[in-house]
Structure formats: C-alpha cells, structure tokens
Symmetry: C2
C-alpha cells in the first residue's frame, strides 16, 4: 500500500524529530553532518517531497489560467472548443503559464467554481467560453475584478466596446461572406444559406455574411433572398431534411453555404441523394469530419484566437490585465480574428460524385484573406 510519504514518515525512518527533518529541509547548515546524511537518506528512500504548495510558494514558477471543460462534447462542432484548448495550452506553455480545468453544469455553478478557485488561490485568471447574451459570468468576473478574457463577444449589448470586457472572437460574418463570394466568383448565383434559428449571436452573424455578399453582388429582392434562406437546429438528419425540401421546391439552387459542418454534412447527403453531386456545399469550423469527407469549410484559425487571448490577458506590459484597470484606451480590449476558407475537392468526394472517376490524391486549397 503506497501513499505519499510525510515528514513524520521521514522522521520515523531516520530516527529523529519532525523539527530535525524540517531543519534539514530549510536550514541544513545547523544540522550535524551525520544526522543530516541520515535524514537525506530517509528522504531519498521514501521519495519524500515537501508539500506542493510550500514549494510552489518558494519557486513561484507559473500563473494558472482557469478554463471550464464540459463533461460532454456535443456533436461534430463540439471539437472547436477542444481545439481552442489545445492551442491555449501551447500558448500558455510558451509563457510559462499553466491551464487548469474545472467543470460546471451551468453559469451559476461556473461562478461558484470561480469563487472556489479564487478563494483557494488555485487560479490567477480565467478564460470564459460559450458566452451568451448578458452573460452573468462576465458580469461577476468584472465586478470581482478578476483578470479574464472571453472567447465570444458580448452579443447584442452596448458592451461590445466596454473596456472592462476583454474578448476575442472569430469574425463569422467575414467567413460566410468569403465563402459566398468564392461561390459567386465561380459563377453561381442562386446560393442558399442553411443556418440556425434566429436569435443566437453566432448564428445571426454567420447568416449576415451570406446576406451581405448576396445583396452586394446581385439585385435580388428581399423575397427572393428569403426563399434561399433555411433554418434548422444543429442536426445532421434535420439539415438533410431541410435541404431535401429546398431541392424539391425547385428553386434552382446552385450552391449552399452552411453555418456549421454538421449542417453541411446533412446538406451534402441531400444533394447527393437528389442526384446533384456537383452542387457545392460549404461548411463552417473546418472540423476533422470536413477534412475526412472532403467538405469545403471556414477555418476559425484557433491558434490566432489563442494567441489573441494571451495578448489581451497580459496586456502590453506582460502583466495580467484587470477589469476597471485604468482603461486608458491605448490598449486594445478585443481581437476579432478573420477566418480563412479551406476549399476542398478531395479524391473520395469526386469518386462518390462520379463513380469510376480518377483517384487523384487529396487536394486542398487554402485561401488566406486578410480583413
């Protein structure tokens, strides 16, 4: 039965008092040579190490950044937050900082965790993900003056430019606009959009990029545009059913831009089944699934999102930024990352499209566009 050895274990093994062990650890010069050697031998034999926190205090090696991690990963696009976490960990490592994880069932439980981690001094700052309208976590962190950065804008409020709210986000509007413009550039006109029901900040933002590109390029009346716009919840079979309906309606759809890779996978199934395998479909998030099935998508550039997170967190001086902290206006308080298109025409997609076609290796093209 193995357990972490204690000072008492060392003292017993060496046949000395606890105080003598403590002296060997903290002031070895005052201990007689033979006693010190006996204690050191016991320490080595038992593998004793001083308590972590005591050592941490002496060495002060790293700052801890707290990040919530949900117990369950939802669907295909749930991997986005995991990829962000991977990128955050790499960036933290570069700065000698560490990521600490915790779970929470809802916003209230997450705030309780913030308190616990703050009071236990386990964490020096937080990264907040999956933000919502008037997010109570953001309000609490700002009020308690705890350094934090949100991945996600404070949607639909005047707080987008609030200097107390540091945030980094991906410009979803730019992503769907770029995808739509790419399709327009290839001669397509009747480009549909498959998105989530109105009311989510991210979803509305992604729809608006398609709208603005279509409106700028074509003289479509609002009814014609609305007839090309579909809504469904995040579900592969529901997306497929929605696109089946659209294709049956005979509106001459030539391409489809989607708010996520899950929706795009459903759309891909519907267009193949309808005998329209060449009808282009764009996803969003560039998940491993998109890569695997040869689906064009919009990449969020999560490495840049993670880098932006740390730049905001540390400020210009490399020390952690507090809310209400002077707010001179000189420091940028947010980062909006422009995503990039990944245009695919993978060999296996071509083969599904044209049975017996040539098997060229995977081809993949990335269009970097700067805002």
């Amino acid at each position: 039965m193995a357990q972490l050895p204690t000072v008492d274990d060392v003292a017993q093994r060496a046949g000395v008092s606890r105080q003598t062990v403590s002296n060997v650890l903290n002031s070895p010069d005052i201990v007689r040579d033979t006693t010190r050697e006996r204690v050191q031998a016991a320490i080595a034999e038992l593998g004793y190490r001083p308590h972590a926190s005591a050592r941490r205090l002496r060495t002060r090696q790293s700052s801890m950044i707290g990040v919530r991690l949900d117990p369950i990963i939802n669907g295909i696009s749930g991997s986005i937050l995991d990829r962000y976490l991977h990128a955050l960990t790499a960036r933290a490592d570069e700065r000698g900082m560490r990521i600490t994880l915790f779970t929470a069932a809802d916003h209230e439980a997450e705030i309780e965790q913030y308190k616990r981690l703050r009071d236990g001094a386990d964490v020096d700052a937080f990264v907040v993900t999956s933000t919502s309208y008037n997010d109570p976590r953001i309000e609490w962190l700002a009020r308690e003056r705890i350094p934090f950065v949100a991945f996600g804008r404070p949607w639909g409020s005047e707080k987008v430019d609030d200097p107390d709210r540091l945030w980094v986000d991906v410009d979803g509007q730019a992503g769907t606009r770029m995808a739509t413009e790419h399709l327009l550039g290839r001669g397509h006109r009747r480009i549909a959009f498959l998105g989530w029901p109105t009311g989510s900040g991210t979803g509305d933002d992604r729809r608006s990029g398609w709208e603005s590109a279509m409106t700028a390029a074509l003289s479509l009346d609002p009814f014609a545009l609305a007839a090309l716009s579909l809504e469904t919840v995040e579900s592969v079979p529901k997306a497929r059913a929605a696109v089946e309906g659209l294709l049956r309606a005979g509106r001459g759809v030539e391409a489809i831009v989607c708010a996520s890779d899950s929706l795009a996978l459903g759309a891909m199934m519907a267009v193949r089944e309808a005998g329209l395998p060449h009808l282009p479909v764009f996803g969003f998030d560039n998940t491993p699934v998109a890569q695997a099935v040869g689906l064009s998508s919009v990449d969020q550039r999560l490495d840049d999102v993670a880098a932006g997170t740390f730049e905001l967190l540390m400020g210009a001086t490399g020390r952690m930024m507090l809310p209400h902290g002077g707010a001179s206006g000189d420091d940028p308080r947010h980062r909006l990352i422009t995503p990039q298109l990944v245009v695919r025409r993978s060999s296996h997609l071509e083969l599904v499209e044209e049975a017996g076609g040539t098997t060229s290796g995977d081809r993949e093209r990335t269009e970097k566009e700067q805002s």
Copy 2:
C-alpha cells in the same frame, strides 16, 4: 493600463509600510482599527489579493494532476483523448482535485516538463497518455517515484503486471470480438477486418478480437482468414481504396469490422459506391462522426476509464499511490475496461441506402456486454 496590484501598491495607497499591510493580512488584531480600516479600504479599491501560492499554502484546497495535451488533434479519432480529458476533469472535480495541462513535442520533452512541474511543485501526479513500447516516460516516473497512472498498457513487455506501473486501458480485443460476434449472430460469415499495419499494440489487439471470434465460430483455414484481413494507415481515402480492392477481388465479403471510425468511414464510402449499401460496417471509438453518419461503432466508455484512473491514482486509502510503494498485491494495479457496442441504423443511412425510403428518427441501440 491595468496590472495585478502588489503589497507595495496597497501600502502606497493607504500611506503605510509594507509590514503594516502584511500585519493586516496575517495578524489584523495587532493593527490599530483606523489603520486596519484604511488598509482594508485600499485592498478593496485596488482589488489586491495575496499571492496565489501563499494563499494556496494556507488553504491547501486541491491536488494537481498533470496531463499532456498535444497542440494538434489528429483526425477523427483524435477526439478520443479529448473525451478522456473531459471525463478526467469531471472526476477530478468530484474529488476536489484539478487537472493541469502542458504540451510536449516528444517523450524527451515530456519528461523535461515532468521535471519542471515536479520541481516547481505545480503538479502532484501525472496521467500519461498515448503510451508506446518500453515507454521512457513510464520508466522515468517510476524511477523518480512520482505518482502516475498510464492510459494504455505497457504493450509487449513483461511489465503488464509490474506493480510499479499503474495503468488503465480499454479491452480492444473484447470490442472487436463483440462486433464480430454480433455480425456472426446476424448470419454473416465472410466478415473482413480492416486494421492498421502490424506492430502497434492497440492495432494488433483490435485485430486479435476479430480473429478469435472468427476462429471460434467458423472452420476457416488460416489462408481464408488472411484473405479477409486488410491493413492500411489511419486515413479515410486509403481505407476506401483498400475496401474497393477487397470488393473487386470478389471474395464475397458480407461485413467489415474496422480498427477505427476513420477506417470505417472510408469502408462505408467504398461499399456504397460498389452498390452494396446494406453491407454492415463497424467502426471503433464511437466518435461524433459515427453518430452523425449512422455508423455502428465500439464505445470505449471513457467515463469508466477516467473513474478507473482516479481509483488507481488514489488507491484504497484515498491517498496518492507511489511506484515501489509496498506492492502488497492487495491493491489492483490496473483496470481493463470492457467497451460496449453501439449498433446504429440511422434514418439518414437508410435513406442513403434506399433512396425514397422512410424517414424514421435516429434509432440507436446499445449492447452492454460485461466481460
């Protein structure tokens, strides 16, 4: 420009010495009321908090478990380690422990990180993932007597039962055996296996489950069995090409069991293209992709893997287990988790199989089998 305030900032704001601030924090009774109130007001205004490590030492709230997280997630099955991390975080929370993340390019770099985290006392124990033959990380941790658990057996060595090496793993052999037996039970006989090239512990283990089920049920000679066994690297198009070749060879294959969901996705594409949409394909890992495209798969039960990890780490007494720690033999030193089948026949798969078929909701059946 905001920065975390220091004791000096508080002292300056309150017009007192550093020592007085320290007294207010540690021995408030010895400070005059008016002075104490002035210092407390300055602390509140500035949002000052004592250094994390000093507080941590006083409060000693949590143990830290170190886990490596790679910068890049590889392919569809790369999400397995993420799902394990989610489950570990939830289990750690339940025990008042925390997960701390770090990165490393290779085993050597990972051992350097272990040293740094141990010496900085940032971490009390490690969970080691993606283990390999004679893994140097395991050797180092055992030698340094640092508590750890490996997710992954010490493959191909006599160390599987070594009491110094605590490990938890998923019984891949049982998983592919269950999948093969399920297909045999439905009347299929010529069941192929699509796996990785020989030489990986996990891959060989998964192949052996198919082999043992086939050998037990059928009187196939070794050549007939070998003719049903395919090898390819982890790649959707390569898997598809391999299965295309198998189907062209006219061996009357009736079903395919695969070593991963990526391989199974490629196999699914090949069987559909060959006009054999009813030919059953089994994946392994039960990734979000399998769920999305209606692919049967083997679920690793990562919640149970994470629970097993903590049971091993903490031992019977709830204190961390050290290597070389008594090894009475009473405590189990490893956990082998039996996975479970997830048999799917999702509506969208049926529709792809039979154009114009009924759209029933997703159906999913889980077969729990205990070893």
